[in-house]
């Protein structure tokens, strides 16, 4: 008892000492920075670490965050071609001064309160962070699966910014959005984005699609968290996801299942695009132990092949995953009757990502699926090795019938 009280007292003493030191330093730094900063940011403490909780990136290749005392540098990398293109932003804590910005990066005040998120992949992430109230605009309700978001659109809390397929710049500006998160495609540096930037709304191009594995894509949730200072929450949530993911991999590794052969995609015209040997799709299937005719291939995107090349393997492959937009066996035959020759057709071993897909609407695989990589992986393992997870029901994938 005695010692405890002593410790508590000494802790109190330490606190007083600390406050004293801070005050001295503050006074010193204020006199250094001049009167301007002092008057604009009376509460600013240059020595304080405004972001005690930080994130680390373990899987994603598309972004990086560098922490400073009162601001974060966000770098977005675009691996479109062989050249990596970098776009940087300064995320400055509200109520603190903007650092010298020689390179002219866009400045965003954080935590951001009003966000326009143009892709459903972003919505699943904000929902996990329990920050949907920060989202004030989306592309269109039609493509959204989340009941919460749909309700918020109905209530008028979230606006549709692209209801007719064209971004309505005026509604974005009128909504007083602080940042627009778009989707970064190779040529997405379009005029509309430039107009928004000119109007003072920074455009963050999220390129989660270029990530090459499930966790890498899910980890973009950390970029969202950085914008709203939810590092602590995201570390906890993502940690759970990682743990569940690793658990599934462990189950597969410890089993001695054989590797069934699988093919992907469907012919479009004369060409058949299959997943490349280093692609996102195959990287995910690889975790579930499969044999793939193009596993030795080096392309990260898709591989364009002649119909007969894929047909030869299709005849003997055990499984057929993601046959384009086909939703049932009838849809497969309608496209081309030759698919009936496939072994996977005869054994009804064809699966597509239509488990939570609303026809004419959105596919939840691209919404909550992004942030549930463990469920997607469990689906994939279940398809190829049903015995490993007998109780798991497919969520995002669906067997064609």
């Amino acid at each position: 008892m005695e010692t405890k009280r002593f410790l508590r007292k000494s802790n109190g003493m330490k606190k007083i000492q600390l406050v004293f030191i801070v005050l001295v330093v503050l006074q010193f730094s204020c006199s250094q920075n001049g009167k301007k900063d002092q008057s604009n940011y009376p509460d600013f403490d240059a020595t304080k670490d405004y972001f005690p909780q930080k994130i680390e990136i373990d899987h994603s290749i598309g972004f990086d965050v560098v922490y400073h005392k009162n601001f974060k540098e966000l770098h977005l990398f675009r691996h479109y071609n062989d050249v990596v293109d970098t776009v940087s932003f300064l995320l400055v804590q509200r109520g603190t001064p903007t650092p010298t910005n020689e390179k002219g990066h866009s400045v965003i005040q954080i935590p951001v309160k009003k966000i326009v998120a143009m892709s459903t992949t972003h919505l699943g992430m904000f929902e996990v962070l329990e920050s949907l109230e920060n989202v004030i605009g989306i592309e269109a309700k039609q493509y959204v699966s989340s009941e919460k978001v749909r309700a918020m659109v109905d209530e008028g809390k979230i606006l549709e910014m692209e209801p007719a397929g064209v971004l309505n710049i005026e509604s974005v500006i009128a909504s007083e959005a602080e940042v627009l998160i778009g989707v970064g495609y190779p040529n997405s540096q379009n005029d509309e984005h430039q107009q928004l930037i000119n109007a003072g709304i920074p455009v963050l191009l999220n390129s989660d699609w270029q990530e090459l594995n499930l966790l890498g894509r899910a980890e973009w949730v950390k970029m969202m968290a950085v914008l709203i200072n939810k590092e602590k929450e995201v570390n906890r949530k993502f940690g759970q996801i990682e743990a569940e993911f690793d658990e599934i991999i462990k189950v597969v590794a410890e089993s001695n299942v054989d590797s069934p052969m699988v093919i992907t995609g469907i012919a479009m015209g004369d060409a058949w695009h299959v997943s490349g040997g280093k692609s996102f799709a195959f990287n995910a299937m690889k975790l579930a132990k499969v044999d793939y005719p193009w596993k030795g291939d080096n392309s990260t995107g898709s591989l364009k092949l002649d119909f007969e090349t894929v047909y030869e393997f299709g005849l003997k492959a055990d499984f057929w995953i993601a046959p384009g937009s086909a939703r049932d066996m009838k849809g497969i035959v309608e496209r081309d009757t030759r698919y009936q020759d496939f072994r996977s057709f005869k054994t009804k071993s064809i699966y597509n990502i239509t488990g939570r897909d609303k026809e004419g609407g959105g596919n939840d695989y691209y919404e909550s699926g992004i942030i549930n990589p463990h469920l997607v992986l469990k689906d994939i393992v279940k398809i190829f090795h049903p015995a490993l997870f007998p109780n798991h029901q497919l969520v995002y994938y669906k067997q064609l019938n």
């Binding site: 039609q142 007719a164 397929g165 064209v166 012919a267 479009m268 015209g269 004369d270 060409a271 364009k304 092949l305 002649d306 119909f307 007969e308 090349t309 047909y311 030869e312 005849l315 003997k316 009838k330 849809g331 035959v333 309608e334 496209r335 081309d336 009757t337 030759r338 020759d341 026809e359 004419g360």
Partner: protein, 358 residues
Amino acid sequence: MRLSSNEGMSHNGTRQRWQPILVLSSVLTGLFILDLLLGSVKIPIAEVFKTFLGNANSNEAWSAIILKIRLPRAITAILAGAALSIGGLQMQTLFRNPLAGPSILGITAGSSLGVAAVMLVAGSATTAYTIRQLGLGGSWLIIIAATVGAALVLLLILGLSFKIRDNVVMLIVGIMVANITIAVVSIWQYFSDPEQMQEYILWTFGSLGGVTNEQLKVLALIVGIGIISTFFLSKTLNALLLGENYAQSMGLNIRRSRCQIIIVTSLLAGSITGFCGPIGFVGIAVPHLTRSFLNTADHKILIPNCVLIGASLMLLCDIISQVPGSQTILPINAITAMIGSPIVIWIIVKRRNLKASF
């Protein structure tokens, strides 16, 4: 008059008339066999012949590839080449214009409009589901859409042809109708999702391999009717070449002949566009190539040779588009344009005066 001198030539005997047909037939057969032999999957020549002799292959996949992929594809190439070539020949004669082709009346544009309506508009919302409920789907839906689109434009042109007597005016109207349909398609494209646009753009690349054995029967029937009808029209076409007034004085009902030619051409071009997508340049290039090769303007000779040269050229384009030895494929439309355009230029340079043929 080139025509009359050629008619005189035909008296010299049937040998001169049959010689080119025999030569071209053997070229066609050679290319046909080559098209069956070459492909992405390496199949030994002996195995290919075994398949056709009814012997069992050492690899079951091979006979499936040959019979279900390469054979229908080669036959489609022959049908497409033949149909588009004589379609082009008839258009060039009807309008007495060396630049005419099956696409000139807006037939191809009409097909594109139909396909765009299905892919871009219906594909965008819940209507796609409604269409599927009707039992239509997949490739047949596209074929029907393309044919209906072509037929609608054709009806419009036919209706106008009763009002307009002048063929040059008809030609201009056809080009304008094509422009309008292209404009409508581009507006749809502007408001469509990238995925739907990709599907549409892929269709515009053209494809010979998408026609399966069942569809081939329908296509062969339509093209067969079209080719036979064209043979019956050869006299009419010859008469038209002499000028409308002259043809009329020969007792030809101009309006009816024009109607017949437009229907036959639409049938040929519309069905090929429906099944294979818009394939360009063959329709313009082959008639010129045939005329310069045979040095005649007699349709009785031109039509069979046009069929043979068109089919051979299309087979050649198909072989090139498959890039033998590789696992990839090039769009057939790009190959026909790359081969077709130099041919047209070469003929223009060689003959200097194309108008002389008309």
